[in-house]
């Protein structure tokens, strides 16, 4: 019997739980999502029915999902972790077998009226699975090689499936998201050092493999690397997106060009302006003030999550919170780095802002689990 279960009597029950929800976090999420609505309205050229309205509906649904998840006791979520992971894995395999092709990759699965992106689901269920795994594992076994290998296997199997779709962005997020949980769980730093060294070696090998029959990445992935290193090399081809994104971002200046006045986004110079590149529109139209404000909202969300993780009294609550916050962090950090030219372009949306139903619902559900950990903390 875990510590959690032994202290059940101090946990809020029934409708009283609503008082213990982390309301500032809810408010922050709503603020970020609202920024998203505004930007979606702007990039649609003032036609809310295209992106802004559907996004708002999904956000409403997502909030309901979050609150519902918050009411579910955290130990129940812990017990469902393995099942969730299994379901996500099966769905990933199903995508591999029957998936739809979207943007040159198999990502979508249609189940009746639902269009599901199992890789999105996996980002959260993997974190839950690992948190549950370390909750179960004895503390002194955490850094034992066989258990590290077990955790690594839990990460690598879905990562490999996602990579096959191919979706490099999500694969990196899964890898790093899983790594965050392992790191937080206290796995010896030597392992991380070794992995970093290995990754360095792998990057070298990947670059060296180019043009050979056993080439490790797709040509388009190599081209993304090329254009990342020198966007000017192909200003009308692959480098076009990056150049235009940076022009949009930079031209925003201090105060931006004004709502719906961004020439870059309004005139279609920007690619994927409602999804991966939406941050550039925000930066163009609201300038440094707007972009920095959004970044601060994200940072505050991280802060509240970290506070929840620290104040939790059990391993699952702490680890799942840190894992979800870490995944959330990776989302926006990778997306912003990408559009600001700090990273090659990998398809990662800006969380809660980019247009996308599955991603938003799953993310809010994940924050629901964080809320659940917050609510069901013994007091």
């Amino acid at each position: 019997m875990s510590y959690l279960e032994s202290n059940l009597k101090t946990v809020p029950v029934g409708w009283r739980k609503i008082l213990f929800i982390n309301w500032p976090l809810v408010f922050l999420l709503a603020a970020v999502a609202s920024a998203g609505f505004v930007m979606l309205y702007s990039v649609s050229g003032g036609r809310p029915e295209i992106w802004a309205e559907p996004q708002m509906k999904r956000f409403g649904l997502g909030m309901a999902v979050m609150l519902a998840a918050a009411f579910v006791p955290i130990w129940l979520w812990r017990n469902l972790s393995a099942l969730g992971y299994g379901v996500a894995l099966v769905l990933l395999i199903a995508v591999e077998l029957f998936g739809d092709i979207g943007m040159g990759a198999q990502r979508w699965l249609e189940i009746g009226p639902l269009r599901l992106q199992p890789s999105e689901l996996m980002k959260i269920t993997l974190v839950m699975m690992l948190a549950a795994f370390y909750d179960w594992l004895d503390v002194d076994k955490v850094s034992k090689p066989q258990w590290v290998a077990a955790a690594a296997a839990l990460i690598l199997v879905p990562t490999a499936l996602v990579l096959r779709q191919p979706d490099l962005g999500t694969a990196i997020l899964l890898l790093m998201g899983g790594g965050v949980v392992m790191f937080a769980a206290g796995v010896s730093l030597w392992y991380f050092g070794t992995v970093l060294a290995a990754v360095g070696g792998l990057v070298f090998a990947v670059l060296e493999s180019r043009g050979t029959p056993w080439q490790l990445l797709h040509d388009y992935q190599f081209r993304r690397i090329d254009t990342f290193l020198d966007p000017g090399s192909d200003p009308l081809g692959a480098g076009y997106n990056i150049m235009q994104a940076q022009i949009a971002l930079g031209s925003g200046g201090w105060g931006g060009r004004g709502f719906m006045q961004g020439t870059q986004s309004r005139l279609n110079f920007l690619p994927e302006k409602h999804t991966d590149f939406i941050f550039t529109t925000l930066a163009e139209e609201f300038g440094f003030v707007g972009a920095f404000s959004l970044l601060m909202l994200y940072a505050l969300i991280l802060g509240f999550c970290l506070h929840t993780a620290m104040s939790a009294r059990d391993r699952y609550s702490s680890l799942v919170t840190i894992g979800i916050a870490g995944t959330f962090f990776l989302f926006f950090a990778v997306n912003m780095s990408m559009v600001m030219g700090l990273m090659p372009v990998v398809g990662v949306p800006l969380p809660l802002v980019s247009y996308g139903g599955t991603a938003m619902l799953i993310l809010l559900w994940a924050f629901g689990i964080v809320q659940s950990a917050h609510v069901h903390r013994p007091r």
Binding site: M1, S2, Y3, W136, D138, V139, V180, F183, A184, A185, G186, Q244, Q246, I247, A248, L249, G250, S251, G252, G253, W254, T263, Q264, L267, N268, F269, A283, E284, G287, F288, A291, F292, L295, Y298, A299, L302, G303, L306, A309, M310, A312, R313, D314, R315, S318, L319, I322, G326, F329, A333, M336, S337, M340, L342
Partner: protein, 648 residues
């Protein structure tokens, strides 16, 4: 799983430690992102702003309306017409072949043209519009507009195109415009950007070319926002251009038309000049061509036909054509001799029909000779020997000087294509040109307007006007610009003794009005229009001694291009000269038989302001003249002055 409180505490401590480490890493990343944002948005904002502007703001030119050209009465000679055209843009069309096929069901479009357009579409960038057809009728234009939904990428447009309502009459004077060619651009230093507008029309010849910059106007600009596909989204600002200046010429549309008709099928030129102002009332060069053909893009076949015609319709013979002036040059030689004092007004020369100089026989046109003649009589009968004689005394240099004084051998500054300088030869000229000495025979030939002497009809007209007025008349063709009269001060008197001029004029009067005059057949019977003139017949071939011995072959028996040129210069009225006419009929035969009657008719038309009454002609000619008039197809004398504003 059971776990001790101690275990749990250790585990939570680890997680907290690691959580704080992660939080630190995340904070570091947030700081990195902030710094990057700061660098891009605050430090390099201006640079990116410029790039964004360059991306989205394009400057489009508004072609200015070309200035109009009017005749002296305000009748339109060159205007602008609405040009309905269709363009197609590949990017918007999608399936270009399908759209073109549909278009061909609506407007006439040949297979070759369609293939050419398809080819051009694939060569040019996808968002640049290609002109499919121009000068559509309103019906065709409307048909395309109505079917627009089925024709993606096809834009019906209205532009301005040059139109010459007077057709061939002013083909040489006004000239024509055509699309700017790469060759045109290469010739112009720092070309006006408006010239880079596809199919922009540029003056190619005549006034259109010479006054191009005045007529073109200034282009307006539109700043437009374009999207990434180059499609215009909205207009940011618009600055209207300035239309080109309207130019009024000195020419008269009716006289020009009549002169051209009177020249008929001949290869000929006629120039009518005002003896007081120097205004050129007609500059006719026959045959002419329709300048509208060139604006619309002349077919290779039509162009070849114009080029291969031995009557050279493309050349403006009135200012470009150079001819030996023949006997019309005798006034120059006569004045040179009088001014030099080598001959008095009453001195006579005996003409036996030829003169031997340096072992060579120089013939008079009249083999029997003229007997004793004074200066006026020498002009009246156009005796050659008289001039052989006096020219030896006066010398070529003084003759050349007199020629230049009268406007020969000088390029008159007119905004017309390739205005010829002509040749008033002297010793220095021959030394420079042929590096040989001037021979006495050259002087003799030059004295009767043969040999090296060359003059254009324009120069002969100026010479005649100067003789008639005694003033240094300067020809001009532009009367006003944008309603502002071009100043035309009265010409200074010629530096020639009035009594000498009077003697020459008297000779010219006798040419037409005395019984022995060479142009007595071209006499004008109305006293108030009494005409003076001088015939000229210039050889274009050498007559060998052998041929002379056998008898000179008559013009009628020679091929056209070896026949003599027929010339006539004249002015009227003799007592108060108003207009002067110079006329050359290439290979026309004799000046008195061919050139004089035509020149007289043109002069009469100018003086009378239309067809003169038959009483102007000698009674024996009236019946024939009346018949000839039936074949004329004259323009409406009542054409209203054009009041179209240039901003058409």
């Amino acid at each position: 799983m059971r776990r001790s409180p101690r275990d749990n505490a250790i585990s939570q401590a680890t997680i907290s430690r690691r959580g704080l480490m992660l939080g630190g890493l995340q904070a570091a990343m947030v700081v990195t992102l902030t710094l990057r944002m700061r660098a891009m948005q605050l430090e390099r904002a201006d640079e990116y702003r410029l790039l964004a502007e360059g991306n989205s703001v394009k400057i489009r030119l508004l072609p200015p309306a070309r200035g109009l050209i009017h005749d002296r009465n305000g009748v339109l000679l060159a205007g602008n017409e609405q040009n309905y055209r269709v363009t197609i843009t590949r990017e918007d069309a999608g399936d270009v072949d399908l759209v073109l096929a549909r278009l061909r069901r609506l407007i006439a479009l040949g297979n070759d043209e369609a293939a050419e357009i398809a080819d051009e579409l694939h060569r040019r960038s996808p968002n640049s519009p290609i002109t499919v057809a121009e000068r559509l009728s309103w019906e065709e234009f409307a048909r395309i507009a109505v079917n627009a939904p089925a024709l993606p990428g096809v834009t019906p447009e209205v532009g301005l195109s040059r139109l010459y309502p007077r057709g061939p009459d002013f083909a040489h004077v006004v000239g024509y415009v055509g699309a700017v060619s790469d060759y045109d651009l290469s010739k112009i230093e720092d070309p006006d950007p408006v010239l880079r507008i596809p199919r922009f029309q540029l003056g190619k010849t005549g006034v259109e070319a010479k006054l191009e910059e005045m007529l073109r106007g200034k282009a307006g600009t539109r700043r437009v926002e374009v999207n990434s596909g180059g499609r215009e989204m909205r207009e940011l600002s618009r600055e209207e251009g300035t239309p080109g200046a309207n130019v009024q010429l000195t020419v008269d549309y009716r006289l020009q038309n009549y002169a051209l008709q009177r020249l008929g099928d001949e290869s000929a030129a006629a120039v009518v000049i005002d003896c007081r102002s120097g205004d050129l009332l007609a500059l006719s060069s026959a045959p002419a061509f329709d300048p509208n053909l060139f604006v619309r893009g002349i077919s290779t076949r039509d162009y070849r036909a114009l080029q291969d015609d031995d009557h050279r319709p493309l050349a403006d013979k009135s200012v470009q054509g150079l001819y030996p002036p023949g006997s019309t040059f005798k006034m120059v030689s006569a004045l040179a001799a009088l001014e030099a004092g080598v001959i008095g007004l009453d001195d006579t020369v005996y003409c036996p029909g030829h003169l031997e100089v340096g072992g060579r026989k120089f013939h008079c046109w009249r083999r029997a000779g003229h007997g004793h003649l004074n200066l006026t009589q020498s002009l009246e009968q156009s005796c050659d020997v008289f001039y052989y004689d006096i020219s030896q005394k006066v010398g070529i240099d003084r003759i050349a000087e007199m020629a230049r004084k009268l406007g020969l051998g000088t390029r008159h500054d007119l905004p017309l294509s390739a205005v010829a300088q002509g040749i008033a030869p002297d010793k220095a000229w021959k030394r420079e040109r042929y590096d040989t000495d001037w021979l006495i025979g050259d002087t003799l030939n030059a004295s009767i307007g043969q040999g090296y002497v060359l003059a254009s009809p324009l120069q002969l007209a100026v010479m005649t006007a100067r003789l008639a007025s005694g003033r240094e008349i300067v020809p001009r063709v532009v009367r006003s610009i944008d309603g502002v009269e071009v100043p035309n001060p009265e010409a200074a008197p010629l530096d020639i003794k009035p009594e000498h001029l009077a003697a020459v004029r008297r000779g010219m009067d006798m040419v037409v009005n005395s019984a022995r005059g060479t142009a007595k057949g071209a006499k004008i019977m109305l006293a108030e229009m009494r005409m003076a003139g001088k015939t000229g017949t210039s050889q274009v071939r050498n007559i060998s001694a052998a041929e002379r011995a056998r008898g000179v072959i008559s013009n009628a028996d020679l091929p056209w291009e070896r026949r003599d040129h027929a010339l006539f210069v004249c002015y009227a009225p003799v007592d108060n000269p108003r207009y002067a006419v110079a006329l050359v009929v290439e290979h026309g035969g004799g000046g008195s038989a061919v050139a004089a009657p035509i020149a007289r008719d043109i002069l009469l038309f100018a003086l009378h302001g239309g067809l003169p009454p038959l009483s102007a002609y000698p009674s024996s000619q009236r019946w024939r003249i009346e018949n000839e008039r039936r074949d004329l197809d004259l323009v409406d004398p009542g054409l209203k002055p054009d009041t179209t504003p240039s901003r058409a």
